[in-house]
Homo-oligomer: 384 residues x 2
Amino acid sequence: MIDTKLKPGLEDVAVATTRLSSIDGEHGALVIGGYPIAELAPNATYEESVYLLLNDRLPDEEELERFRRELADRRSISEEVASILRQAATEEASAMDALRMGLSAATLQSNANDGRETAHRLIAVVPTIVAAYWRFRQGKVPVTPRLDLGHAANLLYMMWGEDPAEDAVRGLETYLNTVIDHGLNASTFTARTVVSTESDLVSAATAAAGALKGPLHGGAPGPVLDMLKAVHQTGDPEGFVRDILENGERVMGFGHRVYRARDPRAEVLSSAAERFYSRSGRDDFFETAKELERVGTKLLLEYKPDRPLKTNVEFYTAVLLHGIGIPRELFTATFAAARMGGWMAHILEQKRDNQLVRPTSHYDGDTGRVWTPVQERKNSHLRK
Amino acid sequence: MIDTKLKPGLEDVAVATTRLSSIDGEHGALVIGGYPIAELAPNATYEESVYLLLNDRLPDEEELERFRRELADRRSISEEVASILRQAATEEASAMDALRMGLSAATLQSNANDGRETAHRLIAVVPTIVAAYWRFRQGKVPVTPRLDLGHAANLLYMMWGEDPAEDAVRGLETYLNTVIDHGLNASTFTARTVVSTESDLVSAATAAAGALKGPLHGGAPGPVLDMLKAVHQTGDPEGFVRDILENGERVMGFGHRVYRARDPRAEVLSSAAERFYSRSGRDDFFETAKELERVGTKLLLEYKPDRPLKTNVEFYTAVLLHGIGIPRELFTATFAAARMGGWMAHILEQKRDNQLVRPTSHYDGDTGRVWTPVQERKNSHLRK
């Protein structure tokens, strides 16, 4: 029997030192690569944010141009991967299932080394996989990636088959930057655990995407949108939220395990969404969101006064991505497209100063059972 | 700044309570589902061991027969997956890369629920993926799985295209049982972390396989075989090991992070290998292994007297699997075929009493950097 206290969620257990992001849950502050999130997210392109995480500084014009080209050159997928994605779409597998399949095969027809080149390859290929899957879901053929477009713009272009508006691209850049990294969340920690065995980047990225898929991690913005749409239709946020709380259920889009103050990412995305909706002339949906935020916060304080529950990143992710025109089915996959930059930076950081992750467990089973051949076992009395 | 001590390897941090396996590293004891490993491994079929982990008891004849059929019915792979495996083989991707690709797509054309049915599906499909990949590597077509054969026998049959000898099947069963589970090793912990987000079994299994691939985890038996073959050829184990130690390198197949006594799995596999080699009339290779074990243990005590380094599971995995006729390229994938049973049992256990795994980190980067537009950045002095 091991004499250690059980830590099933590893809460407050620090497993790594990182230069990538810093979370201050008490004060609601998030720093990405040295920049407060509100400083970085609305200004940078996604390529700049990725470069920042991989190099601990922003690129100058020449470096950025080279980096953009390096990523753009790694966007294509093989025919075999396209077939798998078509099959996934035909069977209506989720976008995250399709992404997992695509990522796991992303080294095929790639001659990248298992370091920065593969990191670039994995970052570059996510939009292509997601968009191809989506085109198949629509009964259309995938759109070939365009080399002249940036990462965010090209994602929208491949999804829609037409040039995206500037506002949509800026909105998506801001979203991708906002959620690019966030400490040792479950998927990032999964990625670091996988490479801690000295396994490769593709295995780690595939594993991380699998973890992000879970509703407790990356799977929540979809249900937030359902709620927003319902409230937008009824026009009665108070009745809607009160019903949820009276039934003892969770109000989606509020509260976060780490933040006791407001999730700083909600702030950044709220501003981005406000800017986007006001320009697109669809202010009414944004007003519904603001009203739901106001009412939800008030009622949660009434029902759960012990813990302040503010809107979280998922709340305004749903608002912003829906505004841009990204379908609900791709919300988590778009999150993955953003987080891939963080995963890669964490993986490379882990590889620089690695230690095998191997926790322990408490055993509460039997010991000393004695073998009996199958012919002598009679379990009929044990069966239900 | 979080005021917690850094635990980069999570050594001695208990993250789960489990009924599946218990490791006593001090005394070199391993219990699987209540049975000491030496009691279970040489006697059970792999299906019995899996049933044990999933049900906390061994099946009777009727239950075992039903379970065998349930697994056998889930062995086939789709054409899309076969294409990916062919491509992987053509490019000489590793067997573990191929397995990751195959597993990640294993839900295609499967109507299993995301519980026991998918667990059975994932366990059943590993041999098919691995054998199909291997057949493609040989320039042959995959062999259709046979429903009348057990899990171990069918794996050998699909790899070779002919009925395996009884001794080979028994040897493989013993191997699969011996390594079916082993506490919260990195891959099992990865699987539990992935489902802790309420993600699905396929994502968790794919992630676990990715972790097992690493040389610090499942990737070591191959190099042991290289060493054994070299020693078998020169006939000078002492000179061989002394060279390694004089160069300050690690002797493969000796020592384990958890066991200070001899790895109990080495014991079980050593006996199984001895039985197998003596019947197959190739005692000389086994004698080389025994001699290398004797000499290696002696020299390690001489060079590293502070820590007793005995042969570990990888040492006799290499001896036994090589004897059976499993190619070195498939050692880690065969390990995965075994461990899939343990992964599935751990995943189902985690789901029954789940808590999101989310550790924390220390931050040692900058804070408060201020945004400057790319045009104003001049990094030429920073570049190498």
